[in-house]
Each structure stands twice: as C-alpha cells, then as structure tokens.
Symmetry: C2
Subunit: 317 residues, 2 copies
C-alpha cells in the first residue's frame, strides 16, 4: 500500500515547521499548499495531486485520465456585491473550465456550492445559475449537483465549483515536464482584466486541445495570478529557470508592462514547446485561430536562472 | 442530444415564477434547489443529478457508477470560531463521506477549498488538514487537491469539500425507489448532536455497504437535517407517504422526541426495505453490528398520507 498510516502522517503534519505560529499571509498560499498537501497520502491511481492546474487520476479506461478541480470565488475578493449575478456564475464556472483547458482536457460534470445570505433574492440565484449555464453550454457540461447554505446575515457569500473532466493520457499536459531551451508562448493579451475581461473571458478549451493534439507542449498552465506569479511556478515545477523579454509580453489595450505581468485573471494559456516546432506552430496557429494572438515571449532556461527576476502578481493572502 | 439549447434553458431560468423577488429564506432551500437545478440540461451519462445524496454518473466500467458530492461547512453556522480546527476538518470531510455512504458507495478522491482570513495561523490550517486526514484515512481516500483563498479580514471562513466515489450499479441505492408498505429503519440514535456528535460521528460506510449487498433497500439517505425534514424528502422522492411511531425513534442520551426528530446532524442512515425481509435483517444486523442499534420506526405508505405530519428539522435559510 502506498498509503501512510495515520501516525506517520501525523509526523508530517505536526512537523515543527508545519506547526508554526506564523500567519498565512506571512508565508503565502504557495508555501502553505506545498507544506500541507505534498505530505498527504495518495492512492496508486493518483497521477498528480495538488500542485498542477487539476488533479489527475487514472480512469478505468486505459486511454484516459480523469481530471478533478475545485475553485471558489468570494464576494469582495473575486467579485463585488454590485457584480451582476449572471457574471458571477459565468466567472465561477469558467475559471474551473480554464484549469481543465490547461491540462488539454474536456470538462464534463460540475457541482456548485453556494453560500448566500438569507436575505438574498431568489432572482439573484436564478440569474447566477443563468451565468453558470452560459459557461457550461458551449462544452455540454452537466451541472449535476447544487447545494446552497446560509453564510449568515453578515457573512461573506461565495460560489465554489467542483468540475470533472477527462483527457487522453498521451495528450495530458502537466506543468512539470518543461525542458530548458523550450520556447515559451502565451495566447491572447494580458493585463487590465478588471476592466471586464475577468467576468467575460472565454476559457481556452479549443485552443488547448488543438495545441496538445498537434504540438504536445512539454508544459502548460493557465494564467490566473499574472504571468509574474505563474511563469516562475511553471519553471519551478519543471526544474527550470526562464528567460523572457518583457517588452514582448502581449498587452491588452492601455495596459503597461507591469500590469500585463502582474494584474492576473487573464485566463490565457502559457506553454513551452520544443524550439524546433516554433515556426510550424506559429504558421498553423495563424491559420487556425486568426483572431487570437499567439506570442513567443522567451524560453525556459537551466534551473536557478531567472531573467528578469519576476515579482508581483496576485497574492491570495 | 439531450442537452437543451441555451435559449430553451433561458426560458426555464427566466420563468416568471423563477424570476421572483422573494427572498431565499421565504421559499427555503428545497424549493430553491427544485426550482433551479431540475431545469438544468444533463448529459446522457447522468443517471441522477441534484436531488439525491450524490450525483450519479455512468462510469466507463459498465459495472460501476461514479458518485459526486460537494458540501461546505461555514464558520458560525456549522462550526464555531472556537471549534478545534482538527474537528472542523474531520466534520467537513465526514459529512461528504456520509453522503457517499447513503448511496451504498465507496469514497475515493477528495478536494478541499479553504476560505480563510489572512490573519489565520498556519497551525490552524495544518490542524484542519490533520482532521481531514483523520476522516480520510479509514477509507483510503486520497486528498488530491487543495486550494486556499482569502475571505478578507472580516469575511466568513468556510471549508468546501468535493468528493468522488463509486458504487456497483446493482447496489446503488437512490432515495426515489421506496415502495408503499416497505418498512423504515434508522441506524444509531438521534438528537442532541450539538453535544459533540456532529464533530465526531462515524460515517456509516461499512453499514451501508453491508445493507446494500445483503438486503438492497428500496430507498436510502443519510440523516443530516433531522428525520422530521429528511423522512418527508425520502417519501416524496419515492412518491410515497409515511407512517411512523415517534415513540419508537431511537433517542440519544437526554434527547426528547422533538430533539430526536428535529435537531439534525445525526449522520445516521434512514432506509426502506421490503417488510418480508425485516426479521432476517434484524437478526443479521445484531450479529454483524452488535454495538450499533437498528430501529424499525414505521413504514412507507401511499402518496399523500403522512402520519404524523412532521414539521421542523434544520432549515438552511
């Protein structure tokens, strides 16, 4: 058995470092997740646990992996009280779809947990579900479960989405297999997402499936926290460094380089691909997706190098 | 295709009744869920969507169904700020395990979404994960994903669990197949859960698997909102009424009949079984589970009958 016994697990969880009196905001989300989830016992059917865009599980079908994702949006953090509820629903589900895209997968079944104030209007919920349906229908995702709970009169509403998907094993794209020398690409334009993009973006399902089928990137992820946060994550997962030209970062209208690097919520794809395939990819891309830019921003480099040293991006705590 | 198009779906969601200015607390959770989720388009692989303890999906393995569940616990509602975080984690995951049990299933993979204040100590999170591990380890559940988000300084923390499972198709037990005349049983004792049971209960996985293997109940659910809420739900799903002797309801130490009916958070099993198998079940149960009571409380009756007319139970809004 690969499972650890409870007592060995307790040693991990109650490790002197883990049992720290530090605040989460002092160590940040990445360190917290690393500290906790990497010591959890996983079954033999788990291909990848926490740390990638989705968890990856062996399916009964030897050709497929199952993908699992959980994600939440919180009022006052990811949307405002004044945000139209249909936009909240659309965003909540589309974020999870974007993570399925990042693995090259196809989204399948969604479940929704709503935490709402008791004073909330029924029409708010129906409109929120209209947004969920708008996000699900292009992909024929079935919304198979919904629970609602009261967060109390003065509580903070939130929408948590759990989404399953699947992907052919030979097309599943992790963050962790990037190779030094591989070229880095991003889709679309980055920055200024709060102008509206964060509520209206299209998850890159079609593009990701096309890329993984035709060019099999060595590493891929979706850009949710800003490339300044996310590129170092992809590089670290792949035991690589990176070298990019920040002048080449594709910018949304009016966005500065800093904003394109750090604003976050772009939900575009970042991927690495063998440099010998770059030209072929660029030509094929323009033909297939004439309305979506694809930009080569630099390459992965040997571990320990970072040019420039990126700082910033969305910090969860 | 079984999927509805977006525009037909919009007709459902923007039905004059749905687009009501009523508050959620005026119509309650059941009516809300009915109103919204039952009109959602479902794929052909969906055996049961919202409305049972779990969603039920066809697996690639023709002998199996996949079970999906999402559930959240909220500070101030399901646990207190002062509740030990390991107990919060244990409860959060055990509630979802109890729903997998209610279908006769085996829990498999869990994902955890934590919404926490930035001031939260790292030790709180490690302790919460210790509780999650304590709940997962008896069943070899893999915790394959964890995300954390800030709910803001004055926000309401919560823990959302998404859990997958599977069940042999011929042993999957829905709420909806109960038959008039079938006898109703509950496991364990009910009421006064807030004395501590709600943080320490054992999900009835072993018992449910044994019952579904040996006696195939016609309907089963777990008791989370109190039998006064949950029995009418099971009866309605099965197009039945019910007739029970409230004096027979097994009560926890010190619990009144009213408390046993309405307190909720018992996480025991309620199931219906052909009356000709009752004696055999009772004898076999005592041998197999000598430390857990099994009580025959009454039977399902023709639709439209309800004896007594049960009121109360936990109201989410």
């Amino acid at each position: 058995m690969l499972y650890l016994t409870g007592s060995i697990l307790a040693l991990f969880l109650f490790h002197p470092m883990a049992n720290s009196s530090k605040k989460i905001k002092e160590i940040g989300e990445d360190a917290l997740i690393n500290r906790i989830t990497k010591s959890l016992p996983l079954g033999k059917d788990v291909v990848a646990g926490a740390g990638d865009d989705c968890a990856v599980i062996k399916s009964n079908d030897p050709q497929l992996y199952v993908l699992l994702k959980i994600d939440c949006v919180i009022e006052g953090i990811h949307y405002m009280k004044s945000t139209p509820p249909s936009a909240v629903g659309y965003k909540a589900l589309s974020r999870a779809i974007s993570d399925i895209a990042a693995m090259g997968g196809t989204p399948k079944h969604a479940m929704i947990s709503l935490s709402l104030r008791p004073e909330c209007n029924v029409s708010y919920v129906t409109s929120l579900y209209h947004g969920l349906s708008k996000a699900s229908s292009p992909y024929n995702i079935s919304i198979v479960g919904g629970e609602t709970a009261s967060c109390g009169k003065s509580g903070t509403p939130s929408v948590t989405v759990s989404l399953t998907g699947d992907v052919r094993r030979d097309r599943c794209c992790f963050r962790s297999n990037g190779k030094s020398g591989h070229s880095l690409f991003v889709t679309g334009k980055l920055g200024k997402s709060l102008n509206g993009h964060h509520l209206r973006f299209t998850p890159r399902i079609e593009e990701a499936q096309w890329i993984t089928r035709k060019f099999k990137p060595s590493a891929m992820m979706d850009l949710s926290d800003g490339i300044a946060s996310d590129l170092p994550r992809l590089a670290e997962s792949s035991n690589c460094g990176y070298s990019i030209d920040t002048n080449k970062i594709p910018r949304s209208r009016g966005a500065s380089i800093q904003e394109a690097l750090c604003d976050g919520e772009d939900y575009e794809l970042l991927f690495a691909i063998s440099s010998k395939n770059c030209k072929k990819l660029e030509v094929a891309w323009r033909k297939k997706f004439p309305n979506l830019t694809l930009t080569r921003i630099g390459k992965l480099s040997p571990e320990g190098t970072a040019d420039p040293d990126l700082k910033g991006g969305w910090q969860h705590f």
